[in-house]
C-alpha cells in the first residue's frame, strides 16, 4: 500500500522555466545582506551576497501570471533549507531522534521534507527553517529559476500545503506573558 501511495502522491516533480509556484526549490539562490550603516549613509558600502538553498513560500496564486501579464506578488518569500547531511554537527539534528521530533512537528520552527529520489536529481531529507526567511523581487527569482534552462525540483500538493500550514502555525504563534499553571 505504501508503494501505491508513493506513486500516486509523489512528493516532487521536475520543472524548468520561469514559472514559479509555492514549493519550488532553488539551490544557490542569491540573498543580499545589506550592512546597517548603509541605511542612513548614502554612499558606497560593501554588501554580501550569500548563496542560500531556499524554497518558495509565497502562495502559488500570487505568483500566477494574470491576463494583464503580471502576477500579484512584487516580492517572493523564500525560506532557507538545509540538507540532513549538512546538520551532522548540530545538537538537535545530529541524531535520528531530533529528526523524528521535527517530523512530528515538535520543533515548530522547522519543517521536514522528504528525500527526493528522482534519478539524476536526488536530494537528501531537508529541513526548512521557517524563521530564516528572505524576500527577493519576483523578477530576480524568475531569473534564478530559469538559470541556464536547468530543471529544478518542485514540492507537490498536498506536501506544499503541509509546509505552508507549518509556516502559518509558526508565524501566528503567541507567547503568553502569564500562562496557566501546569495542572498536577
Amino acid at each position: 500500500m505504501a508503494d501505491v501511495g508513493a506513486s500516486q502522491y509523489p512528493w516532487y516533480a521536475l520543472v524548468s522555466g520561469s514559472d514559479l509556484r509555492q514549493g519550488d526549490i532553488l539551490l544557490g539562490c542569491p540573498v543580499v545582506v545589506i550592512p546597517p550603516q548603509a541605511i542612513h549613509e548614502p554612499e558606497e558600502h560593501p554588501i554580501t551576497i550569500d548563496r542560500q538553498n531556499v524554497i518558495v513560500m509565497t502562495q502559488s496564486c500570487d505568483l500566477a501570471i494574470r491576463d494583464h501579464g503580471k502576477c500579484n506578488a512584487d516580492d517572493v518569500l523564500l525560506a532557507s533549507l538545509y540538507f540532513r547531511h549538512e546538520l551532522k554537527d548540530q545538537r538537535h539534528f545530529c541524531k535520528p531522534e531530533g529528526w523524528e521530533a521535527a517530523r512530528k512537528g515538535r520543533f515548530p520552527r522547522y519543517h521536514v521534507l522528504n528525500e527526493c529520489e528522482i534519478p539524476g536529481h536526488e536530494l537528501d531529507y531537508m529541513l526548512v527553517d521557517l524563521e530564516r526567511v528572505f524576500t527577493l523581487s519576483i523578477g530576480a527569482v524568475r531569473k534564478v529559476a530559469d538559470a541556464d534552462g536547468k530543471k529544478r525540483i518542485r514540492l507537490l500538493p498536498p506536501y506544499r500545503e503541509h509546509l505552508s500550514q507549518a509556516f502559518a502555525r509558526f508565524f501566528m504563534r503567541v507567547g503568553l506573558p502569564v500562562d496557566i499553571p501546569r495542572f498536577k
Binding site: 544557490g28 548603509a38 549613509e41 548614502p42 554612499e43 558606497e44 558600502h45 560593501p46 554588501i47 554580501t48 551576497i49 550569500d50 548563496r51 542560500q52 538553498n53 494574470r66 491576463d67 494583464h68 500579484n72 512584487d74 532557507s80 538545509y82 549538512e86 546538520l87 554537527d89 548540530q90 545538537r91 538537535h92 539534528f93 541524531k95 531522534e97 521530533a101 512530528k104 512537528g105 515538535r106 520543533f107 515548530p108 520552527r109 522547522y110 529541513l127 527553517d129 524563521e131 530564516r132 504563534r173 501546569r182
Partner: protein
C-alpha cells in the same frame, strides 16, 4: 526493564533542575515527571567530587545531564563509567560534601498511566546554532538617498 519514568526531586521548592538532551533543555519543577525511558544506566564522572551525574539511555546512547550548571551539552556515552540501575533507583549529584538525590526512577506502573505523548513536548526554542556555511561574495554598491519609490496600490483587474 521495559520502561520507567524519571521524576525530578529536590529538597526545596525553589530549586529546579533540568534534564538536558534527552528531555530538552528546560527547567523542571521538583517532583515533575521529566520523561520516560526504555532502558538506562547511570554514569558518574571520573572524579565524583567534580564530575556531573548523568543518565544514560542505553538504547539511544543519549545522556541526560542532571547537573546543568556544569555542562549543558550531552556527554558522550563512552566517557561514562556506566552501571545498570534498577527501577526505584535514585540519581544523585555531589553537592557540597554530600550526595543528594535529584531524580528518581519510578516503576513503569506509575508511568504507565501517562500517555507517551505527554512527555514529548513542543519545543519552540530549538534552533540551529551555526547554519551550514554557504558560498558568498561581497560587492560594493553605491546607495543613493531618495531613490526609493514606494509601491503604488492598484486594483486587480480580475477582481
Amino acid at each position: 526493564m521495559n520502561g520507567a519514568t524519571i521524576k525530578t526531586r529536590s529538597s526545596t521548592a525553589t530549586e529546579t533542575r533540568t534534564l538536558a538532551s534527552r528531555f530538552g533543555s528546560r527547567l523542571f519543577e521538583p517532583g515533575e515527571s521529566a520523561g520516560r525511558v526504555t532502558g538506562f544506566s547511570v554514569g558518574i564522572g571520573a572524579d565524583p567530587s567534580v564530575g556531573p551525574v548523568y543518565l544514560v539511555d542505553s538504547l539511544s546512547g543519549i545522556i541526560a545531564l542532571i547537573d546543568y550548571r556544569r555542562q549543558q551539552h550531552p556527554l558522550e556515552s563512552d566517557t561514562a563509567e556506566a552501571r545498570e540501575l534498577d527501577v526505584e533507583s535514585e540519581v544523585r549529584e555531589f553537592l557540597g560534601d554530600q550526595w543528594r538525590a535529584v531524580a528518581s526512577i519510578v516503576s513503569d506502573q506509575e508511568g504507565a498511566e501517562w500517555p507517551e505523548e505527554e512527555f514529548e513536548m513542543v519545543d519552540w526554542d530549538v534552533r540551529i546554532e551555526t547554519p551550514p556555511p554557504r558560498p558568498s561574495r561581497r560587492v560594493v554598491v553605491k546607495f543613493q538617498k531618495g531613490s526609493y519609490r514606494p509601491p503604488r496600490i492598484i486594483d486587480d483587474p480580475e477582481d
